[in-house]
């Protein structure tokens, strides 16, 4: 009898504890953490760098009661990679975080990122086709989608309209080619004040890598196991860069010459365009001449035009809140509201086709763009469609540095570039395979 009462009491106590624990667990709010970069990845000055993120979080919290989203503010772009790595090492990584292009390869290879393929498949609201290909490919490694594009910035060609007008040359079309580019450069590069040295130049900052991207050529294969610099399309691109370089032999072109209006073309990030085009930045920096942006010139073998730089967002593979983190990731990367805010509160481009091509976006871009500027719905979507994603394997940054110095040396040698590039390719292959 007594035993029975004791057992009953124990049972009641146990169920009470379980109930209390369940009730407590249910009423307690879930906390999700987000890793955010302070300021623009492309160093474009912005007002409130957290405006887009804050609005997205507010919307998410409203849709999910009992969920609170937190982030650590003030982590600058130059510290962000290290901060994220440290958090992973300490086991305190955020549930959802932005991934800088240079970190993506390493994080994906380490298995730090949650594969999104099954989530994408099972979610009817999202499809990979919503994104521009190059942007989506930036978040793909080994055929697996590990991250979705949060914001991106294409490279455009800055045109000094005043200079071209003075030379009697019309601003080129958006589908101009290397030949058009070379012809104009050769035409405008000359000595204007008659002191014996050239003081007006065709281009500044256009490198063999820009040529590579516009010729459909890649420096490395997708998984970073071999170098492709001796492939015909690459050789073509490097040859073109070399030819362009020869126009400026013995010339000293600096950023200053460009700022002062002595250079016709310069590759330019879209974010910079957005920063300097509107008043008052426009007046402050380039007051002496009229300017605009067009697409990069296309090479003979390629359909792409420029390399797209993409900041991604991903879910930690160790996050315990898989369903919620996916919702949050969607809020950041696939929500029209969040992505549209990139155009109002940031200087980057949304990777969502429907946002970038929407009338509202066109409207916003037009408001910011004075006069007869070409930029708007016509060129931005085309640029995004024709952009290519940079490779992102683990050793990419190191391999790229090595490639740049090797190719620069090869280009200095006048004899048989193709042979030189084969040597470069061999050396890079050796590096990659070790």
């Amino acid at each position: 009898m007594r035993q029975g009462i004791k057992r009953l009491a124990a049972g009641v106590l146990l169920s009470a504890v379980v109930l209390a624990a369940t009730a407590f667990g249910a009423s307690r709010e879930t906390v999700l953490t987000v890793g955010v970069v302070a300021g623009s990845y492309w160093d474009a000055p912005t007002g409130n760098c957290y405006a887009v993120m804050d609005a997205a979080i507010a919307r998410f919290e409203q849709a999910h009661p009992n969920v609170r989203v937190e982030y650590t503010s003030g982590i600058l772009k130059r510290d962000y990679s290290e901060w994220l790595a440290d958090q992973f090492l300490l086991g305190r990584e955020p549930d959802v975080f932005l991934v800088l292009p240079e970190d993506f390869g390493m994080l994906a290879e380490l298995g730090a990122l949650q594969p999104l393929d099954s989530l994408l498949e099972n979610d009817s609201a999202v499809s990979t086709g919503d994104f521009y290909d190059a942007a989506r490919q930036s978040g793909e490694a080994g055929g697996v989608q590990y991250a979705l594009p949060y914001e991106c910035v294409p490279t455009l060609m800055f045109v000094n309209k005043t200079l071209l007008e003075a030379e009697g040359i019309p601003v080129p079309d958006n589908d101009w080619t290397w030949d058009d580019f070379y012809k104009i450069c050769a035409q405008v590069t000359r000595d204007t004040d008659g002191d014996g040295t050239a003081d007006q130049f065709g281009s500044y900052g256009y490198t063999w890598r820009d040529a590579l991207a516009s010729n459909g050529a890649a420096l490395f294969d997708e998984n970073g196991s071999s170098c492709l610099i001796a492939e015909p399309a690459c050789v073509e691109a490097v040859e073109f860069a070399q030819r362009l370089e020869e126009l400026y032999t013995d010339c000293d072109i600096t950023a200053r010459s460009f700022d002062e209006g002595h250079v016709a073309f310069r590759p330019f990030l879209f974010s910079d365009y957005r920063t300097y085009q509107p008043y008052p930045w426009r007046i402050k920096r380039y007051s002496d001449f009229e300017w605009d942006c067009i697409q990069m010139p296309g090479g003979p073998s390629g359909t792409g035009r420029s390399e797209l730089s993409t900041v991604l967002a991903a879910i930690s593979s160790r996050s315990s809140q898989q369903a919620l983190t996916w919702e949050l990731l969607k809020e950041l990367t696939c929500s029209d509201e969040t992505q549209a805010m990139l155009y109002t509160d940031s200087h980057s481009v949304s990777a969502l086709r429907r946002v970038t091509q929407s009338p509202q976006t066109q409207q916003i871009l037009r408001q910011d763009t004075p006069g007869e500027s070409q930029l708007g719905l016509e060129i931005l979507p085309d640029t995004m469609e024709q952009a290519v994603a940079a490779p992102h394997f683990r050793a990419y940054d190191q391999a790229l540095l090595l490639a740049e110095s090797l190719v620069a040396t090869a280009m200095e040698d006048d004899h048989n570039l193709s042979l030189q590039l084969q040597r470069v390719q061999r050396e890079l292959n050796e590096y990659l395979q070790n």
Binding site: S81, E82, W83, L84, A85, D86, F88, L89, L90, G91, R92, D103, M106, E109, L110, G111, A112, S317, R318, R394
Partner: protein, 435 residues
């Protein structure tokens, strides 16, 4: 005895080495990321790794697992785990938790578990246990499994450190692991050696036992011979005593009677009175002789009849025979008290004893019916068995003896061996003891 002290000592040293190794590897797993993070070398550290390292707090599982491992072992040694079977699941289980928490980098704990448990297992259980543990050890040694599970090796962690400290740490881990392995092998060698010695001792003892048995059987047969001899001696002694008795009692009386009778014959014509006196004397001598004979006979009576009534004695006899032969003997006496004289009782007892003995010995009977009944001053003894019987009855000593006894009492005996074996004896009763 010295070895019995050595084994626990070895085990304790192994436990300490394992503790040290686990603590060291744990420290590497916890402190290296902390150091990298504090120095702002997180990216550099991660670049050197093949996959994402587990969070430092996961090492706590190793600490808890180790505490549980030691607790299980203690409880097992103190016999608090009942049959101890639980320990064979718990200890390897804990070891696996620790091994997983330490990224499969150190699996020497399985050796410790073997050392802890192998001693109390035998034969098939031991083979199964050792087989399972060997498979686990091999499985956890696979680098493929480590990378397959996305675990980062301690060596990758150590690669973060520069030259000398790294070499020191690698050496420490290597040395301790090797020491653990050596202790394990030493333990097993000592254990196997001890087992071999034990087996040899058992074989020696068995040999001694067999020899002692042989001696004992020799002694036994000697004892049997001695018993037979002493039985024969007792028989001879008894015969001598009987001869003496007969000589002393009957011989004496008969001599007196013969002499008295001779005198009577002589005196009959001279003095009939004297002869009458002489006759009385002869009768007195005969009676005295009779009494003497009675006394002798009573000294020879069967033990049971001395102490019990005939019916009780027969019941006891049948009971004992039944017990010794396992044949079922049914005794039926009507009426229970028959007031027989001593020689009649003796005869009845002997006849029943002889018949039952024959039925069991020669007839191999399993059921024997013994019935005693009295009708018209005649006693009938019927012993019927279900044995093999015999077609032609050979007059053996037993039967002849029975006939003689019966003739003395004026009785008769009939035997029939066609349906089992049936003995029917009939004795006329005298009622009283006058002769």
């Amino acid at each position: 005895m010295q070895k019995d002290e050595n084994l626990p000592l070895l085990r304790q040293v192994m436990l300490l080495i394992n503790l040290a190794l686990c603590a060291f590897v744990s420290a590497v797993f916890v402190l290296t990321p902390l150091r990298a993070a504090r120095r702002g070398e997180g990216v550099h550290f991660l670049q050197g790794l093949g996959s994402l390292p587990a969070a430092p707090w996961s090492v706590a599982f190793a600490a808890l697992g180790f505490a549980a491992f030691v607790a299980v072992d203690l409880a097992y040694r103190r016999g608090k785990l009942g049959s101890g079977r639980v320990a064979f699941w718990l200890e390897p289980g804990m070891a696996i938790i620790i091994i997983l928490a330490l990224h499969l980098d150190y699996n020497g704990l399985l050796l410790l578990a073997v050392v802890d448990l192998v001693d109390s297992l035998h034969d098939r259980g031991r083979m199964l246990f050792l087989g399972a543990m060997t498979s686990l050890y091999l499985l956890t040694s696979l680098d493929v499994l480590q990378s397959g599970l996305g675990m980062v090796s301690a060596l990758d962690y150590l690669a973060y450190y520069e030259g000398q400290p790294r070499q020191l740490m690698q050496t420490a881990i290597g040395l301790l692991s090797a020491l653990n392995l050596i202790l394990f092998i030493g333990y097993m060698v000592i254990l196997v050696g001890r087992r071999t010695e034990e087996n040899a001792a058992i074989r020696r003892l068995n040999g001694e036992l067999a020899r002692a048995n042989d001696k004992l059987s020799v002694l036994n047969s000697q004892l049997k011979d001695y018993a037979a001899q002493s039985e024969r001696m007792a028989e001879t002694r008894e015969r001598n005593r009987l001869a003496r008795e007969i000589h002393d009692t009957l011989g004496h009386a008969l001599t007196g009677i013969t002499a008295g009778a001779d005198a009577c014959i002589e005196m009959m014509d001279i003095s009939p009175d004297m002869a009458r006196k002489q006759m009385e004397l002869i009768a007195k001598t005969a009676r005295a002789g009779m009494n003497e004979v009675r006394r002798s006979v009573s000294a020879l009576r069967p033990d049971a009849l001395e102490r019990f009534q005939l019916s009780e004695a027969l019941a006891k006899l049948c009971g004992e025979m039944q017990q010794t032969s396992h044949a079922e003997i049914r005794l039926d006496i009507q009426p229970a008290d028959m007031r027989l004289s001593q020689d009649e009782e003796d005869a009845v007892y002997r006849i029943v004893q002889e018949s039952v003995t024959n039925a069991i010995r020669h007839g191999h009977a399993t059921e024997i019916d013994v019935s005693l009944s009295c009708q018209e001053r005649r006693m009938a003894i019927v012993v019927q068995d279900n044995g093999i019987g015999c077609a032609k009855i050979e007059q053996g000593f037993g039967l002849r003896h029975m006939r003689e006894r019966l003739r003395l009492l004026g009785g008769s005996l009939r035997v029939n061996g066609t349906n089992g074996f049936r003995i029917e004896a009939s004795i006329p009763l005298r009622w009283g003891d006058e002769i």
